[in-house]
């Protein structure tokens, strides 16, 4: 094969493949001759070809008539254009498709519908129909919205409106033809079908006499004879000519009494028996001279103001037996107008025919309902308006009754509260008509079930339900709740909130229990705190914190309720910082309000605690306890943070922590650090081994074993235990150190000073000065003798601590000590100034000192003492006066110096 042939072959193959590919996507367009018309738009597409085309045919008429079945039926019946002219012909002969959406598919014979010979349809057009436009009649559309020529009837009214409303039938052609409506054929017109049938002489009257010329068939008046005929009576005898004249002829007048065509008044019935001249005294065509009114002849007998026109009721010239309508209209003007049901009652029901006429009407009793009606209630309401029906019933009917709830107040059971809203039948259960309205059961329990069981048996016996309940509603009880006053939210709470049936109540078959209900809060309210305030001490019930106003505590006073005031920063701290949520067993969670401790360390970790190595003992720091306990190194948990910190801020303004040490003003704690306390480390007192107390004994061992009390600072100073003031201490005892006792050493009296039990020392003089008391050679001899009684051992009776001498012997002892004679003549106070009852001068005579008794103050000493001036000078180491007064100035009472 040459290259040129090979190239052509390849091009042919490529072209074939491309055509096949293109043909697959455009096969429909290639097969379809063109778009369908709008009417057949739904059949567009290659899937619908077989809807119209069958194999081997261009268009299958059977498939066309499958859709156009109405047309098929007409073709089959040989009707219409298709049935008469085109039966058996192919549809596409006249109907062409695939020419586009906007094209018409009909190929009209002659070129258009207006050119069609309408006779081919079986209905030739004549007269005015010839010139009518096709669409005047063919104005219908088929289901696809297109114009259709099918469906028209040949009746005239299918196109024309029947101006006669069907009175002349549906066939217009009886009078009209197709030429024009006005071209009538009146010779066959049946005037009986018109509104004015022709009778009598009217049948012979020319149409134009009434319908004018040109004729007028509508708008003619013919209701009265006068519409066509002239009244020769000038209206005096009325417009109803037919009352006297017949339509066959005007004369003769056919007037008769029986026909009651007497103008003005009927001559029927009673008047028929009256001779014309009885009234027409001036001729029959002239009015009677006594008048034409009824009362001109008849006397009015009615008490009711019926007026003078008797004819309004007695128009039939008949006094009795008047029509019902007359009676009804007249009754309205009587004292007993007929209202309501009375209006429909037969007259004879009240005006019974059996009664004499007088009693039947004028003297008929009607004042009371019972005059006509029997008491269906059998006297039950005899006391209510004398048994009249009116209070309860109206003439409109016995039902509904007028007996209102308000009127029920006149009964033994006034309707109050919810009873007002209860229908009568709720209590009056007798069947309708309810003539027996007795209600035998009037107690609450007769109608209402008692849901309380027997828990209110006493109250039920006293007043029934009404003892507690109000008719306004069960939920408005009038219960004396004073045993458990309802205050706060309880005042508005519904009873059922607390008194709801318990399982026990339901088991017992009654409602809620109202007795024996727990009175504490937890009896009704579930514990939102899950028992934390009731399970731990101090146990609190709800009312400790909550009031009855509501569970929400508006202003929680943390100090008053929790016993722990929120001050400083605590007042601004969120509650949850300290009170966290707690989950308890069972999955419930609540805020743990009650913490195990209110101490600072519970929420605040101790930054001063640093346990490094355990100490061996605290014996040196805590001799008081002497029982070894582990010690912390630093401030322990036993020390409250509040000892140093306030709630305002952790860091004190006095604290200086930059150097790692703190200078804390301990005086602010009420315990100023003085003396050796200044150098004591904080932990020496603030340790876990001891509670922090201000008593000295809380830190220091009481060497006195409690015998001197706990107030160490009364004797000791913080400067040191040895820094005491013995003189000051003794001033607060029975034995102040005065006189010679100032010079005594402690051990002289407190022999067991080493035990430091200072209370063991006796305080009576004799205890320490027993040897002085028993000293021999003392005068007077204190221990007594065979002739003298011992002196009292209360040394202070005579002696002072200043010195044993001078002593002041009380007079009671003067006889005891056996003093010389001069004491009996000396003044009583001589011993105070100069003892002579005892001591070395006890044996001196008065004259030894008193030169002359006349001048007792003039005394001399040199008579006995050192009368040698040289010796006196040697004794005194200096010259001294030797007169008695000078001696006594230095030797009061003769004492040595």
């Amino acid at each position: 094969m040459s290259p040129a042939r090979l190239a052509r072959a390849l091009c042919a193959v490529v072209a074939t493949v491309l055509l096949l590919l293109l043909a697959r996507s455009a096969s429909a367009q290639l097969l379809s001759p063109g778009p369908l018309s709008k009417a057949h738009a739904s059949l567009e597409g290659d899937a619908h070809c077989s809807d119209c085309h069958s194999s081997g045919k261009r268009v299958d008429a059977g498939l066309c008539l499958r859709c156009h079945a109405d047309l098929g039926a007409r073709i089959a019946a040989g009707q219409g254009l298709h049935g008469l002219q085109y039966r058996g012909q192919a549809c596409e002969g006249c109907h062409v498709e695939h020419l586009g959406v906007g094209t018409s598919q009909i190929r009209w014979p002659g070129g258009g519908p207006q050119s069609l010979d309408h006779a081919q349809t079986g209905w030739p057009l004549n007269g005015a129909h010839k010139t009518a436009a096709c669409t005047k009649c063919h104005n219908r559309v088929d289901k696809s919205g297109g114009q259709t020529f099918l469906g028209l009837s040949r009746n005239c009214t299918s196109c024309h409106k029947d101006q006669h409303d069907g009175r002349f039938g549906a066939t217009c052609t009886g009078c009209h033809d197709e030429a024009a409506w006005t071209d009538l054929r009146l010779q066959d017109f049946n005037h009986d079908l018109a509104h004015f049938p022709l009778r009598g002489a009217h049948t012979t009257v020319q149409c134009a006499k009434c319908h004018s010329d040109p004729p007028k068939y509508v708008g003619l008046k013919f209701a009265l004879c006068g519409d066509c005929h002239k009244d020769p009576h000038s209206g005096r005898l009325g417009a109803a000519c037919a009352d006297c004249h017949e339509d066959t002829k005007w004369k003769p007048v056919t007037f008769s009494h029986a026909s009651a065509r007497h103008p003005g008044v009927s001559l029927a019935n009673g008047h028929a028996r009256v001779a014309c001249g009885a009234c027409h005294d001036r001729g029959n065509l002239a009015a009677p001279s006594k008048g034409t009114e009824c009362v001109s002849c008849h006397r009015p007998v009615h008490a009711a103001p019926f007026g003078r026109g008797c004819g309004s009721c007695h128009g039939t010239i008949q006094w009795l037996g008047l029509p019902r309508s007359v009676g009804l209209s007249a009754h309205a003007r009587t004292v007993y107008p007929l209202t309501g049901k009375h209006d429909a009652v037969a007259c004879t029901s009240c005006h019974q025919p059996g009664l004499p006429a007088e009693q039947r009407f004028r003297k008929l009793a009607f004042a009371r309902c019972a005059d006509c009606h029997a008491d269906q209630h059998r006297g039950e309401f005899a006391s209510l308006d004398r048994g009249e029906c009116r209070p309860c019933h109206a003439t409109s009917g016995f039902r509904p009754t007028l007996f209102s709830a308000d009127m029920h107040a006149s009964t033994a059971f006034p309707l109050l509260g919810k009873h007002i809203a209860s229908a009568c039948s709720a209590c009056h259960t007798t069947p309708r008509p309810r003539t027996d309205l007795h209600v035998a059961k009037q107690a609450c329990a007769d109608c209402h079930a008692n849901p309380h069981g027997d828990q209110f048996a006493k109250e039920m016996a006293q007043g029934g339900c009404a003892h507690c309940h109000d008719p306004r509603g069960w939920d408005l009880p009038k219960v004396d709740h004073s045993t458990w006053p309802l205050i706060g939210a309880h005042a508005t709470a519904q009873c059922e909130s607390c008194h709801h049936p318990t399982p026990e109540d339901k088991k017992a078959g009654h409602g809620a229990s109202y007795r024996g209900v727990p009175r504490n809060c937890s009896g009704c309210h579930d514990d939102a705190h899950l028992g934390q305030f009731r399970l731990t001490q101090p146990a609190y019930e709800c009312d400790h914190c909550h009031s009855t106003k509501g569970f929400k505590i508006q202003d929680f006073d943390h100090k008053a309720i929790a016993g722990w005031a929120l001050t400083g920063a605590h007042a601004k701290t969120d509650c949850a910082k300290c009170h966290s949520m707690a989950s308890v067993a069972g999955g419930q969670a609540t805020v743990r309000w009650r913490g195990p401790s209110t101490e600072c360390r519970f929420c605040h970790a101790n930054p001063h605690e640093q346990r490094t190595t355990p100490a061996l003992s605290v014996a040196a720091a805590s001799p008081a306890t002497a029982s070894p306990q582990p010690a912390g190194h630093g401030f322990s948990d036993a020390v409250s943070c509040s000892a140093c910190h306030s709630t305002t801020a952790w860091r004190s303004s006095d604290a200086e922590t930059s150097s790692g040490t703190v200078k804390f003003d301990h005086a602010k704690t009420g315990f100023p650090l003085t003396g050796q306390h200044q150098h004591a480390s904080c932990v020496a007192c603030h340790s876990s081994s001891r509670p922090l107390k201000r008593d000295c004994a809380s830190c220091h061992e009481d060497s006195h074993r409690g015998r001197l009390g706990q107030s160490c600072d009364k004797c000791h100073s913080a400067a040191g235990w040895r820094v005491t003031q013995p003189l000051e201490i003794h001033r607060r005892t029975r034995f102040p150190l005065t006189g010679m006792h100032v010079l005594a050493d402690c051990t002289q009296c407190h022999l067991r000073a080493s035990e430091q039990k200072f209370t063991d020392a006796p305080v009576d003089c004799y205890g320490c000065h027993e040897q002085d008391y028993r000293r021999p050679g003392i005068f007077p001899v204190h221990v007594g003798s065979s002739t003298a009684a011992p002196l009292p051992r209360d040394c202070s009776m005579c002696h002072r601590a200043v010195a044993w001498v001078p002593a002041n012997v009380p007079s009671s002892l003067l006889g005891t000590i056996g003093s010389p004679l001069q004491t009996q003549v000396a003044p009583r106070n001589h011993d105070v100034r100069f003892p002579i009852a005892f001591g070395s001068h006890r044996t001196a005579a008065c004259s030894d000192c008193h030169a002359t008794l006349a001048v007792p103050r003039a005394v001399r000493c040199i008579g006995c003492h050192a009368h040698d001036p040289v010796l006196v000078t040697q004794q005194h180491r200096t010259p001294v006066p030797t007169d008695g007064a000078s001696c006594l100035s230095c030797h009061p009472g003769g004492a040595r110096r």
Partner: protein, 583 residues
């Protein structure tokens, strides 16, 4: 023809205009025509806010319909019957009633009524409370918020002393010097005291020593009574202890054999029982009652039960001691004693008692069982106030052992036997000096002021002849004036068997050099009235105290008072030097 042409031109213009207008405006896509929904038929179902009602009865001007409030037809519900509205004026559970307002309503007529919410609050049925036992064991201990915190360590104070070794030496010296021709001789004394606490071993063994070397000097020292009470060496404590857990054992000279007993040369063991309870036993020799020298004359033994819970709110502590002793080979002391204390807050309430048993032939003629001591004390702090009170009744400690050291008159009232030698020893007459003390004091302290008032009375509850006393005192202190100055003033009065005493003192104090030097001086004036003559004697005194704390291990104190006046003239002076080195 022209008209036709003109019409075509106009038509063309109109057509162009319409085309341009369509091109100028973007073509709006006409929304697809929504299928016309058939008109919805009126809802046949009952609206939730309306219910069907039926007239069941008419009476008077009212008509009753059903249902009533149970279906929501309540007061103010609107009932529509035959197009006319009626308002419910009242309702029960079953019925509602309307005013017909002249309209005629017939029974069995139907209508609709609007539903009105129940006016009153729906009863809220409280949930059934859980029984308290529900949560009986449900709560778990709370984890303290502090436990989760890791604060930065903030040290307070200096380094704590080494508690394993603590030594303290104290040198004390003093004297009493008569002044101005005062009869009497001068007296001086000196003492060197050493206290030691040592834990020298890894084992929990402790050693404690408290001993003093002391001496007195006076011209008439030999003539002064109490010579045996002034030993050269006095050892208060020399004790070796061993601690394991709550067990303690000690041997040596104990300063306190028990909570209510003093020195004992012997041993003591103690075992904790838990919950603050412990029990101990002790036994040993009683030293010389005056000099403290070891002695074999008497032995003391007993047991002690102790309770202490410092962790409780009241911080209770108590001890009960039962002990006995032998002297000269026979049973001597038989005694039960106890102490207790409670510390409610900053207050204290404590007490003690001592019950002794005596032989039938005891020299003091005591009954077989006698309450020999009892007392209570109480102090209450109320803010700035503190009140204290103490009542104490006590008899002298009586034992044959102690009687061998002390005169008989120290124990009882002695009287000579009728017809006996006046100088012969006397026997007790059966009356014991039963001293009763009542004391009350109150203080008030604010930042710079401290006031103290107190009073006490002492008497003998068995003998009116014994000395008694009643007195009171008041002290006022102005503290921390200008941070360094203080001023104290006090007064006291006492009326005793021996004398009446009026006194008052006042003086300033200074704390200088960062409180390392404290100086206090005062003047005292006293008026004495001895019972024997009733004369008033004046006594003037000037005194002072100097305390020097040069460092934390040194302390110097000096105190003195000079007295002059009608009663006595003397100078007392006493000084100490303490060295407590940091080991």
């Amino acid at each position: 023809m022209r008209r036709l042409l003109l019409a075509r031109v106009v038509g063309l213009v109109v057509l162009c205009t319409s085309i341009s207008a369509e091109g100028a405006q973007p073509k709006k896509r006409r929304p697809p025509a929504k299928p016309t929904a058939p008109a919805q038929a009126p809802a046949q179902t009952t609206a939730p806010n309306a219910v069907a009602v039926t007239v069941v009865e008419t009476a008077g001007t009212r008509a009753y319909v059903q249902p009533g409030a149970t279906a929501g037809v309540r007061r103010n519900s609107t009932i529509t019957i035959r197009g006319k509205d009626y308002t419910v004026v009242d309702a029960s559970d079953s019925y509602a009633v309307v005013e017909t307002n002249g309209e005629t309503l017939h029974e069995q007529e139907k209508g609709r009524a609007t539903v009105v919410a129940e006016e009153e609050q729906k009863a809220v049925e409280l949930p059934v409370p859980h029984p308290l036992s529900t949560w009986q064991q449900a709560w778990t201990p709370e984890e303290a918020p502090a436990e989760a915190q890791q604060p930065r360590f903030v040290p307070l104070g200096g380094e704590e002393r080494n508690r394993r070794f603590d030594v303290r030496f104290t040198l004390a010296a003093g004297g009493i010097i008569p002044l101005g021709g005062q009869v009497g001789s001068a007296l001086s004394m000196g003492e060197l005291n050493a206290r030691l606490h040592a834990e020298p071993f890894a084992a929990p063994v402790t050693l404690d020593l408290d001993a003093s070397l002391q001496g007195w000097a006076a011209a008439d020292l030999s003539n002064r009574v109490g010579g045996p009470s002034r030993p050269l060496l006095y050892v208060r404590e020399l004790l070796a202890g061993y601690t394991v857990g709550s067990f303690y054992a000690g041997i040596g000279r104990m300063r306190y054999a028990a909570s209510t007993l003093g020195t004992l040369d012997g041993a003591r063991v103690q075992q904790g029982l838990g919950e603050g309870f412990s029990i101990g036993a002790f036994g040993g020799l009683l030293p010389n009652a005056l000099s403290g020298a070891p002695s074999l004359d008497a032995q003391r033994f007993g047991v002690e039960a102790r309770y202490g819970r410092p962790d409780l709110a009241l911080r209770p502590e108590a001890a009960l001691v039962v002990h006995g002793s032998t002297f000269g080979g026979t049973l001597d002391e038989r005694r039960v004693s106890g102490v207790f204390g409670l510390y409610p807050g900053p207050s204290r309430f404590g007490g003690y008692f001592e019950v002794s048993s005596f032989d039938a032939d005891n020299p003091w003629k005591q009954p077989a069982i006698a309450l020999t001591a009892a007392g209570i004390d109480n102090s209450v702090r109320l803010g700035s106030f503190e009140l204290g009170a103490r009542v104490d009744v006590r008899q002298p400690e009586m034992s044959r052992w102690l009687a061998s050291y002390l005169p008989q008159s120290w124990f009882c009232t002695t009287v000579p036997a009728p017809g006996s030698n006046p100088t012969a020893p006397e026997a007790c007459n059966g009356k014991i000096d039963t001293r009763a003390l009542g004391e009350i004091d109150g203080s008030f302290a604010i930042e710079h002021l401290s006031l103290t008032l107190g009073g006490l009375g002492i008497t003998d509850v068995t003998q009116t002849s014994e000395p008694n006393m009643v007195g009171g005192f008041a002290t006022a202190r102005l503290l921390r004036l200008a941070r360094v100055l203080r001023f104290e003033a006090s007064g006291n009065y006492s009326h005793s068997t021996f004398m009446n005493l009026f006194g008052g003192s006042a003086g300033p104090g200074l704390s200088l050099i960062a409180d390392t030097l404290d100086v206090y001086a005062y003047y005292r004036l006293s008026v004495l009235q001895y019972r024997s003559d009733g004369a008033s004697l004046l006594q003037d005194g000037i005194g002072g105290t100097i305390v020097v704390l040069p460092s934390s291990d040194l302390l110097f104190t000096l105190q003195g008072e000079g007295i002059t006046g009608d009663d006595a003239k003397a100078l007392t002076i006493f000084g100490t030097a303490t060295w407590r080195p940091h080991l």
